[in-house]
C-alpha cells in the first residue's frame, strides 16, 4: 500500500495499491500546488463545463465553470480520496450550480405542467443540425425540468438523490422527468 502523507491528510488506495494521478494531483493541489490543480482543471473541464451549460443558460456557463474550480480549490482539503476525484468534483459542481441558480433568480417557469409540455417546445428542425437541435430543445425546457432531465438522464443521478439536491419530493422528480422526455421526443431524428 502506498501512502502519501501530508500531515493529517493520508491517502490510501487499497484497490490498486497506488493513488491514481488525479488523487496525487489533488493532494499536491491541496498543499498549494497550482500546477497540479491546473492539470486537474485540464482533465475535468470538458465534463464540468458540459454539465454547467446544460444546467444553466449558455451565457453564464463559463463564469459558473470558473466558480466551480475556484470552489474546488477552496474545498480541496475536504477531499480524502474515498471516491474518485471526478465524482467529488462533479457533486461539488452540482452544488455550485444549484446555489448559483438561486442568485440568477427565476427567470422562467420552473416546471412543466399538464399538457403544456406539448406546446412548450416548437417543432424540431430537419437537417444536419439536428443534434444541436436536441440540445437546444433541452435548453428551452423550464429550469426545474431541465435540471432533473440533465441530472437523471445525462448525468445518471437517481431520483432520490435529485430530490434531495433540489429539495423536491421524489414523485415530482419522476413526473417532471417524464414530461421533459415527452417534450424532447419531438426533437429526435426520425
Amino acid at each position: 500500500m502506498t501512502q502519501f502523507g501530508f500531515g493529517a491528510v493520508t491517502l490510501e488506495h487499497e484497490n490498486t495499491g497506488r493513488p491514481d494521478s488525479d488523487t496525487v494531483d489533488a493532494t499536491l493541489a491541496a498543499s498549494g500546488d497550482a500546477s497540479a490543480f491546473e492539470r486537474l482543471y485540464r482533465h475535468h473541464v470538458p465534463r464540468i463545463y458540459s454539465l454547467v451549460r446544460r444546467m444553466v443558460n449558455d451565457d453564464d456557463a463559463e463564469e459558473i465553470t470558473q466558480d466551480v474550480f475556484v470552489r474546488a480549490w477552496q474545498k480541496l482539503g475536504t477531499f480524502r480520496g474515498e471516491a474518485a476525484f471526478g465524482t467529488w468534483l462533479h457533486r461539488l459542481a452540482v452544488n455550485v450550480i444549484l446555489a448559483r441558480r438561486e442568485t440568477l433568480g427565476t427567470r422562467r417557469k420552473r416546471f412543466l405542467e399538464g399538457d403544456a409540455v406539448l406546446e412548450f417546445l416548437p417543432a424540431r428542425k430537419a437537417g444536419p443540425e439536428l443534434a444541436m437541435d436536441f440540445e437546444s430543445a433541452m435548453e428551452r425546457l423550464p429550469d426545474g425540468a431541465r435540471e432533473i432531465f440533465v441530472l437523471h438522464d445525462v448525468e445518471g443521478y437517481r431520483h432520490e438523490e435529485i430530490a434531495e439536491m433540489l429539495g423536491l419530493a421524489t414523485g415530482t422528480s419522476k413526473s417532471q422527468l417524464h414530461r421533459a422526455r415527452l417534450a424532447l421526443r419531438r426533437h429526435l431524428e426520425r
Partner: protein, 221 residues
C-alpha cells in the same frame, strides 16, 4: 394524452413499477399503438441523453481561475496558502528548477558539450548552459539547507510534541525518503525520464511540505 398509461411509461422504462402493473402495461402496449410509439421515443430520448458529447469552453478559463486562486501564472510556482516560511518556499521553487535543469544537463551530455563526470568549470563569461548547471547546483544546495534547517527545528522541538504526532511524522517521512531513494536509483539508469524527474521533484517537495507543516507544530520558545 388522455390514456392513463401514458403517465406511467417512464416508470415502465426505469423498471420502477410493481410486477403486476408491469404485466398489465405490457399487455396494453400490444394493442395501443400510441403508447408503443411513445415508449419507443422515450427510450430513444434516454439513449440520446447518454450519448451527449462533452464540450470545451469557448475560451481557456484557466487564466481567470489562476488569478482568482492567487496563482501568478499557469504551471508556475506552488502557492503557499497556509504557511509563510520563506526558505522552504524558495527551496520548493528550486526543486522545480532542478527538474528543468536536470533535463538540460542530460541534453548537454547527450550532445557531447559536457563531460559525463567531473567538475564543471564556470569561468567568466559563463555560457547559458553552464548557468543552468549552476542553478541546479544552487537549487540542490538550497533544498538540502532547507531540509536541514527544518529537521533541526523538529529535532529541537521533538520533546514538546505529542508522541503520536511524532510517530506519524516519522512514518510519513520514512515513506517519502524511501520514494526519493527509489526515484534517484531509477534516474541513475534513465536520467532523461521526464516522469521520474517530475516524480522526484514532487516527492522532494512533498518532504519539504511535510517538514514545514511539522515545524509549525513546534511551539515557539
Amino acid at each position: 394524452m388522455s390514456d392513463p398509461w401514458m403517465e406511467r411509461l417512464s416508470d415502465y422504462l426505469e423498471d420502477d413499477m410493481p410486477a403486476a402493473e408491469r404485466l398489465a402495461l405490457e399487455a396494453h402496449l400490444e394493442t395501443c399503438r400510441d403508447c408503443s410509439v411513445v415508449v419507443s421515443d422515450l427510450r430513444r430520448v434516454m439513449n440520446r441523453a447518454r450519448q451527449m458529447d462533452e464540450r470545451q469552453p469557448h475560451r481557456d478559463l484557466w487564466p481567470g481561475i489562476a488569478k482568482r486562486i492567487g496563482a501568478t501564472s499557469a504551471g508556475a510556482q506552488p502557492i503557499r496558502r497556509r504557511w509563510s516560511f520563506s526558505s522552504p518556499q524558495l527551496a520548493a521553487a528550486a526543486v522545480l528548477l532542478m527538474t528543468f535543469s536536470g533535463s538540460t544537463v542530460w541534453l548537454m551530455r547527450s550532445a557531447g558539450s559536457l563531460p559525463a563526470d567531473g567538475p564543471i568549470a564556470a569561468t567568466a563569461p559563463p555560457p547559458a548552459t553552464v548557468t543552468a548547471v549552476n542553478v541546479r547546483r544552487n537549487a540542490a544546495e538550497n533544498y538540502a539547507a532547507a531540509v536541514e534547517d527544518l529537521e533541526r527545528v523538529l529535532s529541537a522541538g521533538r520533546g514538546q510534541l505529542d508522541t503520536t504526532t511524532v510517530r506519524v511524522i516519522e512514518q510519513n517521512l520514512a515513506v517519502i525518503d524511501q520514494a526519493i531513494a527509489q526515484a534517484q536509483r531509477a534516474l541513475l539508469a534513465d536520467p532523461a525520464n521526464l516522469y521520474l524527474n517530475t516524480h522526484l521533484a514532487e516527492t522532494m517537495r512533498r518532504k519539504l511540505d511535510l517538514l514545514r507543516q511539522a515545524a509549525t507544530l513546534v511551539p515557539v520558545s
